[in-house]
Symmetry: C2
Amino acid sequence: MAERLVVIGGDATGMSAASQARRRRGPEDLEIVVFERGRHTSYSACGIPYWIGGAVDNVARLVVRSPEEHRIRDIDVHLHHEVEAIDPQGGEVRVRDLASGQEKRVGFDHLVIATGAHPVRPKLPGIDAEGIYGVQTLDDGEAVLTDLERKPRRAVVVGGGYIGVEMAEAMVKHGLKVTLVDQAAEPMSTLDPDMGRLVHQAMENIGIDVVTEAGVEEFEADSRGRVRAVATKQGTFPADVVVLGLGVRPNAALAQEAGLSVGAVGGICTDLRMRVTGQERIWAGGDCVEVLNLVSGRPQNVALGTHANKHGRVIGINIGGGYATFPGVVGTAVSKVCDLEIARTGLRESDARQVGFEYLTAMVTSTSRAGYFPGSSPMTVKMIAEWRTGLLLGVQIVGRAAGAAKRIDAAAVALWNKMTVEEMTSLDLGYAPPFSPVWDPILLAARKAAEAIVASCQG
Amino acid sequence: MAERLVVIGGDATGMSAASQARRRRGPEDLEIVVFERGRHTSYSACGIPYWIGGAVDNVARLVVRSPEEHRIRDIDVHLHHEVEAIDPQGGEVRVRDLASGQEKRVGFDHLVIATGAHPVRPKLPGIDAEGIYGVQTLDDGEAVLTDLERKPRRAVVVGGGYIGVEMAEAMVKHGLKVTLVDQAAEPMSTLDPDMGRLVHQAMENIGIDVVTEAGVEEFEADSRGRVRAVATKQGTFPADVVVLGLGVRPNAALAQEAGLSVGAVGGICTDLRMRVTGQERIWAGGDCVEVLNLVSGRPQNVALGTHANKHGRVIGINIGGGYATFPGVVGTAVSKVCDLEIARTGLRESDARQVGFEYLTAMVTSTSRAGYFPGSSPMTVKMIAEWRTGLLLGVQIVGRAAGAAKRIDAAAVALWNKMTVEEMTSLDLGYAPPFSPVWDPILLAARKAAEAIVASCQG
């Protein structure tokens, strides 16, 4: 008799796991049932700001694979079905058909928890006013676009992380006057403030009013219950529409209620094969789990489609009878804002301090191509290395040029392999005038960091 | 009394070594004398094809630092001075002033040999005809541009390596009808033929006539001694101008005549600090030395400005009293031809066979950005991994998109660290829709290679 795999959540991790398991085990051997509470499968949440901003013209393009395409491969997808409880010992889930309201119990031999994350919505006065949007699901995106048809004039974006900054730019493209309020000293606080400052300037250059150290205190609504202003520590900003970009939190409640292991930073805990800690037949991956940061040695939540897909593949291979692991992350992220490319990997200064590293930093400004080559543009690279050992701890890049951001990959692989900045000065990175100065900016930063290490040891 | 550093060759390695040594030791402690037989210092030979093609408008832009700028830093540069002999035991060189013809002997406490490389000029009938150019020095570039003022109509480029392919494109930009003849099965033989085929097609798309397996037999000249055709195994091709792109060979003769160690592939041998093997006070770097290929374990000549600069820095630090090493290369190279970006690192299939690796290959075609993002373009990645262990051996990339070529850097760092393709599937590379599909093409290739390894172990 066939085993049954139940998957909770039909996005990146869930559908990748289902597809990988199906590639390895046919329907006669493994029944696969997916419960998704929304109405889409396998879509790119990361693409939503670009869809709202108009760079992507059709929401259908964000859907990698429709429910029908999955069903053709014998993956039994149920949309509008919400799993309300997991019984790990009994090996079943309780699921509600959101359309009919009916509940049923479904047994599993393998369970994949891929419940994702939800946007942070601070419990502030007025948070439930109309016109305040998170940006997480395709429905959220649709809601923002529908609201924009009302021709609002002023947008306030709350939070200066990736989504906040990307959404601020999208709102500018729609012709709105945009204010971005952020509680940190500089926006893009995934970078150190000295690098975030460069993003701040670029945002102001396209007309975004950036207000820092402006924690929100209240959302003011008009008499019809629609948001009309955002009150912050730095004053009150009128708003016809508000976008929340305050990050996301793992959807781990279902797992927690079932007594499964949930960690210190709020995500489900798994082993290297993405099996929930202490469980034999329950797996979890994507935005709802904690992952190991290989640089800090600490658990971390990272909501990124690329990891969610990797987790799904690992789970599907393992359920399919193979062997695969997910060792962890080094914290790489890239983004494009205004005319800037932004990238980071590893630890910021504040992270390094928190973990207990003594460190040095080096910052260089170089160019993306040979200085004499057309289209050569400035890029700034910041490198953080452990004192004495010179172990690479982190790299941040802000550049005006095509090709700036993905240079972070070389640093990410160096971090993964625990390289020192001294050894990095010898790295054999690609050089030709259209692609790099003779010293790639990453090499240049490594040189400066290595020299700082030597100087500090002599001092 | 001050020591004296004598540098032979005023380009990347020589001037980097001089500059680094000067930063660490003042003129009262170290006298620095540079002999350069040409009339420029510190220029970018790699930029010459782009200057000839018009992308770089002024030759002065290729000169990173002029002799005067070096002299201001107390580096005593002598142009038009050729060193004719080295006496390692006596600690002196014999140098000729090419202008006056006078010779003198100059003693050294440290000597840097940075004599570079010379273009291969096969000893074929007619090779000395007028109108046949190598592309190595700024004078070569000047000569080609002067020749182009005669409005030649047909160019034949001999050799389909980087310089040959770049020069063929430059000639097209000047309105010439261009034939590229290459003795290999496909041009760009730094790639495997299946990847070189993609370059072949792109060249034909811009009107270059590519003739493969066409070893040259003779250069035919007219009655005034000017080249008029190139005779090959595949027929004779009329030519008003000929460009040789047959690669370069280390200028090691001076070292060899002095009894210094020259290796099997024709370059000067050094230790990790770039000291000539067996010598106390003689150093060498750049195109004239052999370097260790860290993947094959074999010595290799690599003529690339980025390595030449690294060597110079390492030598200058060591002479300056510091400590630095150059461990070797993994064989990374990038190039832009027509609308293609091309990159490679590590071993080709033929290299792997020669060294004795059993290997598997994986090839994927993906896109540079998320498929739904504007400007997303195809790129092909080929990965070579050792059988059983899955050790990464090499990666090749051909792509139509900005950002294709420099993706090789992640692979180069992975090679440097002896990663397996299995481990590479977990790498934390930057992901956002404007920069990458959710599976970066490098990750996708690693997945496919890792799956091939597993399948081969089961088979």
